[in-house]
């Protein structure tokens, strides 16, 4: 995918991947950032004009200090839409990105017609506590993120040479920035009271969930459906939390059907 730099009205610089033709679609990545290869985006680009910005804290550009709370992140999302010159884009977000997309749709409801949330964070059920991602060692993480932990581990660490100290340090710095930034919305409990604002979401909404999601269990799909007035659920078999990497074709098909 092609990549370019934009600068928001606030002065934050970020990189945006772009591909395809058709209706504009803004994709917001999860707490792991955009991976080198994102097969979901490639598949979506066959039908839509896909824009995938890298969030501050997740790429080479600085600027994450400016984003501290839910409103900062939400407004940054709209600043990116403005900087890209998009009008009423289809809004798709995964995990942390889903949390932000939902807030964007609540705050500025007139500008979102269709919203797709892929295993979004941001709702908490006492009966189904979400495991503490911030207290997990890198070895435990794949077991929570993927239906197939072994294959997932290979995806997470691809290209990383654990024996090279400099590479390891760079990985730790990047990881600390990514998850440190994500922690502003997700720590210690991933709930910034979207439920209070959910009534404002007027977009038609699709909620996608992997049946084998062990990070945010599939029961959360119904919780989101109860909060949003026009929401349907698509469940993906054989996928954990990282559906985007594990079942990109199936996910892309479900999204295309809904968004088209």
């Amino acid at each position: 995918m092609a990549e370019r730099s934009i600068e928001t009205r606030r002065g934050i610089k970020c990189r945006v991947r772009e591909a395809g033709r058709g209706e504009p679609l803004l994709f917001l990545h999860g707490a792991g950032g955009l991976f080198a290869s994102e097969p979901l985006l490639d598949a979506l680009a066959e039908r839509f004009h896909v824009f995938a910005p890298t969030w501050p804290g997740f790429g080479a550009e600085a600027g994450e200090e400016a984003l501290e709370d839910m409103l900062d992140f939400t407004l940054h999302g709209w600043d990116v839409v403005e900087a890209l010159g998009l009008v009423r884009p289809l809004l798709v977000g995964h995990s942390l990105g889903g949390m932000i997309a939902a807030e964007m749709a609540a705050v500025n409801n007139a500008s979102v017609e269709k919203l797709a949330l892929i295993a979004p964070a941001g709702v908490w059920l006492d009966a189904h506590p979400i495991p503490d991602m911030f207290a997990m060692t890198p070895f435990e993480l794949p077991g929570y993120l993927f239906a197939d932990a072994k294959a997932g581990e290979a995806l997470l660490t691809s290209g990383l040479d654990m024996k090279n100290n400099e590479a390891l340090k760079n990985f730790m710095v990047a990881n600390s920035r990514r998850l440190g930034t994500a922690g502003k919305l997700l720590f210690p409990i991933p709930n910034r009271r979207f439920s209070k604002r959910a009534y404002r979401v007027s977009a038609k909404t699709l909620i996608c969930w992997g049946n084998q999601d062990r990070l945010i269990p599939p029961v959360y799909a119904e919780a989101w459906q109860r909060l949003i007035s026009q929401a349907e659920i698509a469940r993906i078999e054989g996928a954990g939390h990282m559906i985007t990497l594990e079942k990109p074709a199936e996910l892309a098909a479900a999204l295309a059907k809904f968004l088209a």
Partner: protein
Amino acid sequence: MKFTFFNLMPWPHLPDGFREKHRSVWVDLPNAMYDPLEGNRVYHEYMDQLEYAESLGFDGIGVNEHHQNGYGLMPSPNIIAAGLARRTSRAAIAVIGNSIALYNPPIRVAEEFAMLDVISGGRLLAGFPVGTPMDTNFCYGQIPALTRDKYYEAHDLIMRAWREREPFAFDGKYTQLRHVNLWPRPIQQPHPPIYIPGGGSVETWEWCARMDYNYSYLSFGGYLAGQAMLEGFYEHVAKLNKDESPYRSAFAQVIAVADTDQEAEELYAEHILYFFNRCLHVYPGFSDPPGYRTIKTIQGGKLDQLRAEAQREYATLTWKNLVERGFVIAGSPATVRERCEDMIKRLHVGHIFCLLQSGNMPDWKTRKSTKLFAEKVMPHLRDLWPDWKGDDRWWCKPYDARVRPEETFPGGERDVRAHAARKV
């Protein structure tokens, strides 16, 4: 040199096989393992030891703050310090310290420290830790990436509250107060000496040096490993053209004294191993949440190695390892003297926090070791910094006519001012 007797207040009943059954001594250790009635005995034993240390001539007695922790039973060190302030009369009361980012509003710490300073007659040393990730993030829910920012704001508020003599408004990012007006305020003016317990973050070195705060390196990794940290701090002191007084820094060290080296091992090894093997069994996932450490510190890389390797090693350390590598200074008074001198000179420190109680050490052993240290080690180490004699910038300045528990006043009257007037 100034010596402070420190008691971490460990729970002495972590069972055999504890490491296998529980992933961490800290954060999520089920409190079913805590027995409140035994806790009553333990608190009094530990507080008695702190008071005993004063009677032996230690310059200070020290406490600190931990939460949900099997080796640190002081969620509120101020409560222990308040007890000590009443029952002691000479020693500095070192509260190292209160994690100021945790209190809402942080003015609470300014108030409680002022109370302690007033009750103790100006004997408080005020510590402001950022706090470990276990305490600050996992037990008290602070967002890792914002913890430091909140910490600095809390610091600014507390210091201003101690200095101002008129009410003021404070418009912070984390705390907004319309009327800040401290009652009481501390005896020590403009404020008690400030101690910053640091783990080894680059920013803390620079900040302590710039603010003229005491940098206290508190780890259990011993003085050989601690050397790099103190060197890092003094590099910043030099860069800022400040004098290099050893009293700018403090170091915590596990120490055990017996009549002979052999006896030290026989008496203390099992308890100190209990501390290293069980009490320091912290789940690695709790020790470094992303965002807690600054990028500069990760890039500095010193801490990584220290932490990651130490974590793995604590489980398997033997007595021989502990002593050889300086995790523990143990032996006869002569041996301990020699090694302490080496430690003090290597680290260039003027204050030692002596960890003489360790793990599940019974009271009589703690007292034996403490007494031997006070009588046969401490006196020989007093004047290691002749060039800095009388440098008390980082020590408390007690009000000399303060109320002392051992003194009775004529007619049972406890009027400090009248007493002070008589003295003049």
